[in-house]
């Protein structure tokens, strides 16, 4: 099967194999109609009258005291209307708080106060009449810094004499915790073999093509804030604006227009929404900030870190137990400390059955820039570590890499399967997925090809990775390591469905559209409820806080398929019931006998059309006196939906996420002995994301997320010098894969419906980013087997490979000893 189109045709929705409405079909995206005409309506396309612009002075140091700030010259520049520094911010705002850390820092404000903790931290803000003048003003600001010793690594940070990032906490270790499940000690005692490794992850990020953009106008006549932002978690932003700059939630209207890519990255924009809002409040002018690419590369990223992993193995390959110790350099934006470690529980044993497991984690502050919940958060690293350990274990035991996986899969008959910590894998057939992947990728032919090419002196390798892609965050995991009850959760969503007086159905999903096809997908499911075509449904792709939201509403954590659809379907179904009830009452029919299709309410028994929907809508809004007594006029329903399988948190039984897609990735790579560059020759995926509503969209996510993982595995890395200076501030240094580096991906789908979502759908959007890392690393290691190369870290850069091979005998053979 090639690409998206062929697999698109193979997908059918309903249980009995019949196509049912538009669900399951590759319906062309409705949102495209605007975007392809150049009318996408992104945040930077929106302008207020008398628009002013903000710019920031960002710290050039990773760690320094701010000795003095001279803003006088900037203030004199014509066109500059305001300059804001930390001194004022400290007086009028509250510091940012940590969510997970047991002790929150109290000195970190939205603008640096007294000291800077990373290169790129905002220190001074300017408001001017144009972007260009704002940039000029920044050049006129003179900040005197007194550099402090830089805490560059986890090892540095943990030294007794280390400089403290947050002196008020008294340690650089923001949180640590230890968990024990089953009897790991016994497992290790009984093991035939113990395999250990330290596996590392680097700093990289998804870098959405649209950078952070936010604008705000504080209306002093009504004391109300209107803000726009390319924001993925606006529900939380509203709360954070309140808690930092003290504008009450009731006075905030936040709108998120079409977002030019999110990938979790835009969960971090709220600090700047707060800043721009504050600047507008202080100046009375509408203020906009458009982040430049260099500014976007300062922060926010995934954290770097390492995991010490140990597997206790039986000689047939069965994993008896595991010990994992995770160290994450969580930068210094205390907001999301420990998040990367905690979320790993969602896929800590991957597709494998591991019952005895000890897990420790350490979240450490350093002078690395802040981190954000980038595509998959800690799960790509978790999966990378696991798959590396699987390969290493197989090698150590002298068994095949496929056999060790087969030995350890969660058996299909144990589904739904509860992991050691309480995560519930709701459905799936991992052994079958794997078998299909071996077939689909022509694995055995590839082995033969590899043997042939090796004989010709080519370094070709095959990599295999099996991964879990969790969806919907049960955000309470923040409270695994500290007391209290979370007052926010990602397992719910609110939506509004209405039929307006002319009979048009409108949906407000009230979450941001970040490129994941929500508008179309919702139009598909809602059109089926009302017997209409998707084009007939108007879905608002913009988030607007006036419509109400649950705390932490947003588009993240692969939750759309679950809670957005849940909320929309609930509201749509209630609305349909109401329409039918009104019709029944007016026409003196039994409501159970009625249904809606093609714009009419009809009697099911004889398909007799009783009344037009348009007509009913008109009546429902206008004819108030002759309206059925048992119904209220108006056809608008707002409903909230919570996925009830989210568990309240207990340390010995909790679920971090609620749906679990899975996939097998198999790839073939070649390493050039001339420059050690890696080329992907073939890439196959068999993906199981439960029921698929729109295969065109879902295939795109699977492919796109895989390429983003390939970028992380081979090309992308934020590099820092010993002084904590970020050396990757343009796309010349921060290398994204282009179309030339991206492979053709062959994709096949399985469907194991989720029992705990409305349509049986599961997560899509992060899977490739999670699972690809292990496949690529395994393939490169396999290709360089003649050199005995072991891969335990990413990205796999040519020079690093060369360093690894250059003292080997195979290398001497290759180069004739001359190099």
């Amino acid at each position: 099967m090639q690409g998206s189109n062929s697999s698109a045709q193979t997908l059918v929705y309903s249980e009995d194999g019949k196509k049912s409405g538009s669900v399951g079909k590759a319906v062309p995206r409705i949102e495209d109609l605007k975007i392809i005409r150049g009318k996408g309506g992104y945040a930077d396309d929106i302008e207020f009258a008398d628009q002013h612009y903000a710019a920031f002075h960002f710290s050039p140091f990773a760690h320094a005291k701010i000795k003095n700030i001279d803003i006088s010259k900037a203030l004199e520049l014509p066109g500059v209307i305001y300059v804001l520094t930390g001194e004022e911010v400290k007086k009028i705002t509250n510091p940012m708080k940590s969510r997970a850390a047991t002790k929150s820092p109290t000195s970190h404000y939205i603008l640096a106060v007294d000291k800077v903790r990373y290169m790129g931290e905002p220190v001074v803000a300017v408001v001017a009449k144009t972007k260009y003048i704002a940039a000029d003003a920044i050049d006129l600001i003179d900040v005197e810094y007194d550099p402090l010793p830089v805490v560059a690594t986890i090892e540095d940070a943990m030294k007794k004499e280390s400089e403290l990032i947050y002196p008020e906490i008294g340690t650089n270790q923001l949180i640590e915790d230890h968990f024990k499940f089953g009897d790991t000690e016994k497992a290790f005692k009984e093991a035939d073999k113990i395999v250990k490794d330290r596996i590392r992850i680097h700093r990289y990020a998804s870098t959405p093509l649209e950078t952070f953009v936010t604008s705000a106008f504080y209306d002093q006549t009504r004391d109300e804030l209107l803000a726009y932002a390319s924001d993925q978690q606006p529900g939380r932003t509203v709360g954070s604006i309140e808690s930092t700059i003290k504008i009450p939630q009731s006075k905030i209207r936040l709108i998120v227009p079409q977002v030019g890519g999110g990938f979790g990255n835009k969960l971090a924009i709220w600090q700047y929404v707060a800043l721009v809002s504050l600047l507008s409040k202080l100046t009375g002018k509408p203020v906009k900030w458009v982040q430049t690419r260099t500014e976007s590369l300062y922060a926010f990223h995934r954290p770097r870190g390492f995991m010490d992993a140990e597997f206790a193995l039986r000689k047939d390959g069965k994993i008896l137990g595991a010990r994992l110790t995770d160290w994450q350099a969580d930068g210094n934006w205390p907001y999301v400390a420990a998040l990367y470690s905690l979320i790993k529980f969602a896929n800590m044993c991957g597709v494998y059955e591991i019952r005895n497991l000890d897990y420790s984690y350490h979240s450490v502050a350093t002078n690395d820039p802040p981190i954000v919940q980038d595509r998959g958060v800690g799960k790509p690293f978790m999966s990378f570590a696991l798959e590396r350990m699987m390969d290493k274990s197989a090698d150590a035991l002298g068994i095949d890499r496929t056999i060790i996986r087969e030995k350890n899969f969660v058996p299909a008959e144990k589904m739904p399967y509860t992991t050691f910590s309480g995560e519930v894998y709701e459905s799936g057939n991992y052994p079958e997925n794997f078998r299909r992947a071996l077939n689909f990728s022509e694995y055995h032919e590839k082995l033969k090809l590899q043997e042939k090419l090796r004989k010709e002196g080519r370094y070709v390798g095959i990599g295999i990775a099996c991964g879990i892609e969790p969806g919907t965050s049960n955000l309470g995991y923040y409270f695994l390591s500290k007391e209290g009850d979370p007052d926010y959760n990602g397992a719910g969503q609110m939506a509004t469905v209405e039929m307006v007086a002319d009979g048009t159905v409108k949906v407000n999903m009230n979450g941001p559209e970040i490129g994941t096809g929500h508008v179309t997908t919702i139009a598909q499911v809602v059109s089926d409820v009302f017997g209409l075509e998707p084009e007939d449904i108007i879905v608002d792709g913009w988030y607007d806080s006036v419509h109400g939201h649950l705390t932490y509403a947003g588009t993240y954590s692969n939750a759309f398929n679950d809670v957005y659809l849940g909320a929309v379907m609930k509201a749509a179904t209630l609305l349909k019931e109401k329409i039918l009830a009104i019709a029944a009452s007016l026409k003196k029919e039994n409501v159970e006998d009625l249904d809606i299709a093609e714009g009419h309410v009809f009697r099911k028994s004889d398909s007799e059309k009783l009344v037009g929907v348009k007509e009913l809508a008109k009546i429902s809004y206008g004819r108030l006196l002759s309206f059925p007594k048992d119904q209220d006029p108006g056809l608008k329903i707002t409903a909230s939906y919570v996925n009830k399988t989210a568990k309240p948190f207990h340390r010995d039984d909790f679920n971090v996420q609620l749906t679990h897609s899975n996939s097998t990735h198999i790839c073939l790579v070649e390493v050039s002995p001339e420059n050690w560059n890696v080329k992907i020759l073939d890439y196959s995926i068999v993906h199981d994301a439960g029921k698929v509503i729109n295969p065109g969209i879902v295939d795109g996510m699977a492919i796109g997320s895989t390429v983003s993982g390939i970028g992380g595995a081979l090309y992308e890395e934020f590099l820092f010098d010993e002084q904590g200076n970020n050396l990757s501030l343009t796309f010349a240094e921060y290398m994204k894969p282009t179309a030339m580096e991206s492979p053709e991906i062959k994709l096949d789908e399985m469907e194991s419906p989720a029992p705990n979502t409305v349509f049986g759908t599961k997560a899509v959007g992060e899977g490739g980013a999670i699972t690809s890392l292990g496949a690529i690393a395994g393939a490169v290691e396999d290709a360089l087997k003649p050199f005995g190369v072991k891969i335990s870290e990413l990205p796999i850069k040519p020079e690093k490979l060369w360093e690894m091979v250059k003292d080997t005998d195979e290398y001497k053979k290759l180069t004739g000893g001359a190099n």
Partner: protein, 159 residues
């Protein structure tokens, strides 16, 4: 301030600018054509791609004053007089070649050029010709599908 007069999508425009203003800012902020996007500072990403005398260029790598009298085409110029989608617009939609869509204007302007100025392109050739345009969402595969499809449509139309 300088007055720049130019033609975009067959229409004459005129606007005031400082010499230092980038052409992409002029198009977006002064002329209010918001379809052309900005994704980087260094000429790498191609989000700002427009056509100048029919050839694709990156409008962030040009000053507005340099475009005095120029004949440009932007994404807004692709559709027909009554809003009919052009073949490349159709193909991008049919092949799911966009997700967030932020890169799409640039890719459409490239596609519009490439399908008309090349013999039938292989997938590999298409990838090679598009490497000055970044897409962070799609992994490029469906974009390549769309370019191939658009070229097929273009050739069929020409016959």
């Amino acid at each position: 301030m300088v007055t720049v007069n130019l033609t975009i999508n067959g229409k004459e425009y005129s606007g005031e600018t400082e010499p230092r203003m980038l052409l992409v800012h002029f198009i977006r902020d002064v002329l209010k054509l918001k379809g052309t996007h900005i994704g980087c500072d260094t000429g790498h990403c191609g989000a700002c791609t427009i056509q100048w005398d029919g050839k694709p260029v990156k409008s962030c790598q040009i000053l507005a004053v340099q475009a005095q009298g120029a004949n440009l085409k932007t994404v807004e110029g692709l559709e027909g007089p009554n809003g009919e989608l052009s073949i490349e617009q159709e193909s991008f939609r049919e092949k799911f070649a966009l997700q967030c869509g932020y890169c799409t204007s640039g890719f459409l302007m490239m596609t519009n050029y490439l399908i008309r100025n090349n013999e039938e392109m292989t997938r590999e050739e298409i990838r090679e010709k598009l490497h000055g345009n970044y897409c962070m969402c799609t992994g490029y595969q469906q974009i390549v599908d769309a370019v191939q499809d658009a070229q097929r449509k273009y050739f069929a139309q020409k016959k």
